[in-house]
Symmetry: D2
Subunit: 240 residues, 4 copies
Amino acid sequence: MTVWGENVHEREEEPVRALYPDGMHAAIAAGLTALLGERVSVRTATLDEPEHGLTDSVLAQTDVLTWWGHTAHDRVDDAVVDRVQAAVLGGVGLLALHSAHYSKIFQRLLGTSCSLRWRNDGERELVWTVDPGHPIAAGVPHPIVIDAHEMYGEHFDIPAPDELVFVSSFAGGEVFRGVCGFRRGAGRIFYFSPGDQDYPIYHHPDVRRVIANAALCAAQAPSAPRSVPDSPESPVGWFA
Amino acid sequence: MTVWGENVHEREEEPVRALYPDGMHAAIAAGLTALLGERVSVRTATLDEPEHGLTDSVLAQTDVLTWWGHTAHDRVDDAVVDRVQAAVLGGVGLLALHSAHYSKIFQRLLGTSCSLRWRNDGERELVWTVDPGHPIAAGVPHPIVIDAHEMYGEHFDIPAPDELVFVSSFAGGEVFRGVCGFRRGAGRIFYFSPGDQDYPIYHHPDVRRVIANAALCAAQAPSAPRSVPDSPESPVGWFA
Amino acid sequence: MTVWGENVHEREEEPVRALYPDGMHAAIAAGLTALLGERVSVRTATLDEPEHGLTDSVLAQTDVLTWWGHTAHDRVDDAVVDRVQAAVLGGVGLLALHSAHYSKIFQRLLGTSCSLRWRNDGERELVWTVDPGHPIAAGVPHPIVIDAHEMYGEHFDIPAPDELVFVSSFAGGEVFRGVCGFRRGAGRIFYFSPGDQDYPIYHHPDVRRVIANAALCAAQAPSAPRSVPDSPESPVGWFA
Amino acid sequence: MTVWGENVHEREEEPVRALYPDGMHAAIAAGLTALLGERVSVRTATLDEPEHGLTDSVLAQTDVLTWWGHTAHDRVDDAVVDRVQAAVLGGVGLLALHSAHYSKIFQRLLGTSCSLRWRNDGERELVWTVDPGHPIAAGVPHPIVIDAHEMYGEHFDIPAPDELVFVSSFAGGEVFRGVCGFRRGAGRIFYFSPGDQDYPIYHHPDVRRVIANAALCAAQAPSAPRSVPDSPESPVGWFA
């Protein structure tokens, strides 16, 4: 698993650095390691590394990629976006976290604007399970209570998800399809809305559990990444 | 269009009768007539009529059937449920309203328990559009505000809907997939959660609009109801 | 895993007995054991056993139930159907095989007639993968070639499946959504069309692979079967 | 309605010109006009016009856009693709015809490679209805028989469609999810596979009927195209 972080807020804003001294990516990676243990091998990559740390070699060794970005979406190189898109279509799982709704890779894979309503007032978010049989919901309370968080509200301009697992409500009354899944090519994509940089969300035990569940789930596609298929001319009986 | 009402609360409970002196079915029918006018012909039917007012002849003239029941689900005859199920599979639209989530016909068509959480505290419900391009959402505000209503909350044990149009939140924090659509056979089914008998919901202009939109939408299946298909043995080239 | 078989054709028809001397259920169970080995424990149950072999105790120990029936659908006791439905909604996986499209339990869970076209001419069936990233498709060729089989053709009157994995074509030109998945309650249901009693389909290595893959997939719901949920009244803040 | 055609094969290849002397777009437009009559106003636009004939003004007057392209996908200007994407997300319907599976706009909206298998042998295609209640299937035979056409076969690398209406089989045995629908933003998108330039497909009465049905269906989104939504900051109670 590769945990990708933009790693800008954490370096530039003291309150964020206080919450995540090693970066949000480090906290996410620590959660995965703590909950999944020896079942997985977790690495991190950030925007400032060459090729944003997402070389062909790294992607070839990646089963699941988590993505956190916000203020620097535009600084992600289109060539890297092409490469990640091809990897996902070939079977690599993708977890788009919080403000990654506006990342190039998420918009590219979904085809819509991915816009939403928002308000950063530190209000209570309740995350309700609407699909209790889904493996992402295993071992989490109903609802998950997040005492203070940024509001993300409908309308969320995404395609109808292939799987809707959690829906959030906020103290101000809004709702949000906060955890939903998409299949694109051979890859599984999950969007997971909790995780604003101003709150210690990635230290929340239930949030960590959902992310770990989603990572395992997204990794269940065939392990060997495939290349994106071309369109082969196929003479009659080619399969015989 | 045929508006079916159980018509028990309205006769037995004074507060409900005050809200709906002619029955909830009459209020629902009035809303359809007011908004759709000459485009539709609306009749009503109730539990106490012979065959609950849903004879073969009535169903044969029905494009859309709305269903409200609560305290007398068990008194609906299984033979009538069979008949309505066949009609829906053959193309008749069905609008299941509020406590119809536990009606025999809704459970029969969906195959799940259709259970949910509830609390009758007269709290504010906000109904949020999650699919603004859907014709059911045309002309309604975002959100619809219902000042006082019974809470229906997740988990709602239904199959993943084919179309999710509105999601409600309640003052107490719960969420509910309150307006969703299902296709079964040639018929379209919409579940619409607002409408407890203790509140004047069916006089609310936005609720009336959504019900009218849904009725039109459910009637868009081929107009001539078909019989439920059998399984014909089909010799090679039967279609030539 | 519990493999349920009607076990009528195999006892009454010599050609079927020649293909499946111990019954089709035994062949299906042997395939599961051969491919999944120690990961699973497989038992069988048949129509003629008390309670059709599907007692509360058996279901409580079952993660996945496979179902083959054809000529004796009507002899399945409604009380057993109720029990299996509750088990599936509570998380037990169900694999409905071939003519189980007309079984009481499949119709109950789906709510539609489940009718289809058919022709028993022993013609070639090709089973094409339309979702190559799905775990059910792992390790099977594209297409699976079945030299001789009964034709099942559209229109197949099922709800739009939550997952469509394979689509078959037949020498006579028909197509069929032959392998598809449904989620109902906490349970996963897969329909798998190959498997007429007149052909040695359950000895076909690719068919055995798909069934084994589907069984694993359907067992991924939470391992502890839950009871079907009721509708609890929930005072404000019940979750706090 | 605006019928867009690449209009290259028709000008450069004599056999195609013989089938479509005024271009394929003219034949498609003629079919729409013949079947829908005064209900619609149909215009055409082609690659060689300024801005490919798809100016802001034209799109603002368009409810449904049909798209046929093949050999010149790369010559479509990215700025026009951006504009059409925005229009679709804002509510304009899109019909992607045949080889438009590889058009920039279709790939942009779906996010996948949209690859498929193909073979141009002039073989029989049968188009089977799998959703007979869908308005696109109204008035067409089951199956539609196309005597000679190019084969398009699975795997078709698209997201799972929101609506699957027809599935084709070919004489060589392949299958294809040939008519399927997607919702993106407020817009409805239908892919319709028949229509290779080497065959008189757009003169086929059933094909014309399906295209007319799909055009009406895609136009049912709210008539006034909306702009693509941004992500508004929304103070508590903004909706009151």
